[in-house]
């Protein structure tokens, strides 16, 4: 993992919300993400995370599923209602089949099991951002092409009318 020596000044790449009830893990992750060039906030429980999502736009959320006040899946559902474009990486110690299936249905970007190394988590973040960028790129390219086709068809129709 490459580190940025000066972390407060560098351009952040993505705005990330870390939701985990273990303060040590959350702040460690926050530091690692910041060093990797992102801007990270933390929330220790579900309602706190939803408050944060109501006040700021995030690109990505790293979500522990075992939270003290709400189930992680509930948090994910509400978070996606608030910010439909949010990418969610699940990072959990106590996983079960039901929650993984819920994560599939909610289109989580990734599902990592604790303990995951910081490098592995940062890599998953980059991969999720890259996939999103690829989708947007395709969307923009196709829109440009369809607009061009439309213009061509209109000018064809104009030629035919003359």
């Amino acid at each position: 993992m490459q580190e940025f020596p000066s972390r407060r000044k560098a351009a952040w790449c993505a705005r990330i919300l870390v939701v985990d009830d273990e303060p040590r893990l959350a702040s460690g992750l926050q530091r690692a993400l910041t060093l990797a060039g992102h801007e990270a906030d933390t929330a220790g429980y579900g309602r706190r995370a939803l408050e944060a999502l109501q006040t700021r736009v995030y690109d990505l959320m790293i979500l522990d599923l075992a939270l003290p006040d709400m189930s992680g899946i509930q948090v994910m559902e509400r978070a996606l209602q608030l910010q439909p474009d949010l990418l969610v990486i699940v990072l959990t110690g106590r996983s079960n089949l039901e929650s993984v299936i819920a994560a599939v249905k909610l289109h989580a970007a990734d599902y990592l099991l604790k303990p995951s190394g910081l490098a592995e988590i940062i890599e998953a973040v980059v991969a999720a951002l890259q996939r999103r960028a690829a989708q947007v790129r395709e969307r923009v390219a196709l829109r440009t092409v369809s607009q061009a086709l439309e213009i061509l068809q209109q000018s064809d129709a104009g030629d035919a009318a003359e």
Binding site: F4, P5, G37, S95, V100, L129, Q130, A133, V136, S146
Partner: protein, 266 residues
């Protein structure tokens, strides 16, 4: 939609293939079938497919391997897992392959059709994109017969200038950036897109340039600010990394809240 959505059923049990297949055909879908992973990948390669219903326990190549391969080769393909042996490991593989649903047998044919309906309705944009790509392919075929050279502007002469801003030196033609007091052997190699973004920022140090303007410079296409930000993120990430490790300028590129990026002069 003029053409029916096309669905590939991958299951080693003939009974499942035909019963689910018939129900989907009755709902108006075009159905293809495969009895194992190899056949599934062959069918995906041979014809466009919108959605794959995939059983995970297959003879030969495993279902998760089929899922990972298919999602890499065809990012637009919608995948619904249909399995009699649900387990955590395969469900995690489903998340990572971008599958959109995970159904557990026993399940009624009715419920499978309902899941397919819901998925396709939620992803009409992908189907429209497929229709557009087909129209485009046909147009390209027609265009290939025309002498296109006369419509295309001659390529701009390569920009061989060197940009300097503070301690940064960017060789635009060779796509290399380095610190002014470093030798060329320590320069970082940039991609074409990274070069374009850095050149735009270095041309006007200290000035905030919006993501949209930067992305337009890179891709030559109009887009929303949100789209531009999504496109730039991985690029900015890589660029910052290279500036930190090769040019000793970890903090050269800065964010101005949501207004855009600028180059801080040291």
């Amino acid at each position: 939609m003029s053409e029916p959505a096309s669905i590939l059923i991958v299951d080693d049990e003939a009974y499942v293939r035909t019963s689910v297949g018939r129900a989907l055909e009755l709902s108006g879908y075009a159905v293809q079938m495969a009895a194992d992973g190899e056949e599934a990948l062959q069918r995906l390669a041979a014809a466009t497919c919108d959605l794959m219903l995939l059983d995970l326990r297959l003879p030969g190549m495993s279902g998760t391997a089929v899922m990972r391969t298919a999602s890499q080769l065809y990012p637009e393909l919608l995948i619904i897992v249909l399995t009699g042996y649900a387990d955590e490991e395969s469900a995690i593989a489903a998340v990572q392959s971008g599958a959109v649903d995970y159904l557990c047998k026993p399940i009624s044919v009715h419920q499978v059709v309902a899941a397919v309906d819901i998925t396709l309705r939620a992803h009409t944009d992908r189907l429209r994109r497929r229709a557009l790509m087909q129209a485009l392919a046909q147009t390209m075929e027609a265009l290939a017969a025309l002498p296109l050279e006369r419509f295309i502007e001659p390529a701009r002469p390569r920009n061989d200038s060197t940009l300097r801003a503070g301690s940064l030196v960017l060789d635009v033609a060779r796509r290399q950036v380095r610190a002014a007091d470093h030798g060329e052997d320590r320069a970082a190699e940039l991609t074409e897109e990274e070069t374009a973004v850095l050149a735009a920022l270095m041309a006007q140090p200290g000035r905030i340039i919006s993501a949209r303007v930067l992305a337009r410079g890179v891709h030559g296409q109009e887009m929303t600010e949100w789209e531009a930000e999504q496109l730039l993120r991985p690029l900015v990430f890589e660029l910052c990394r290279k500036l930190a490790s090769h040019a000793g300028r970890p903090d050269a590129m800065r964010n101005a809240r949501r207004a855009g990026y600028f180059l801080a002069v040291d």
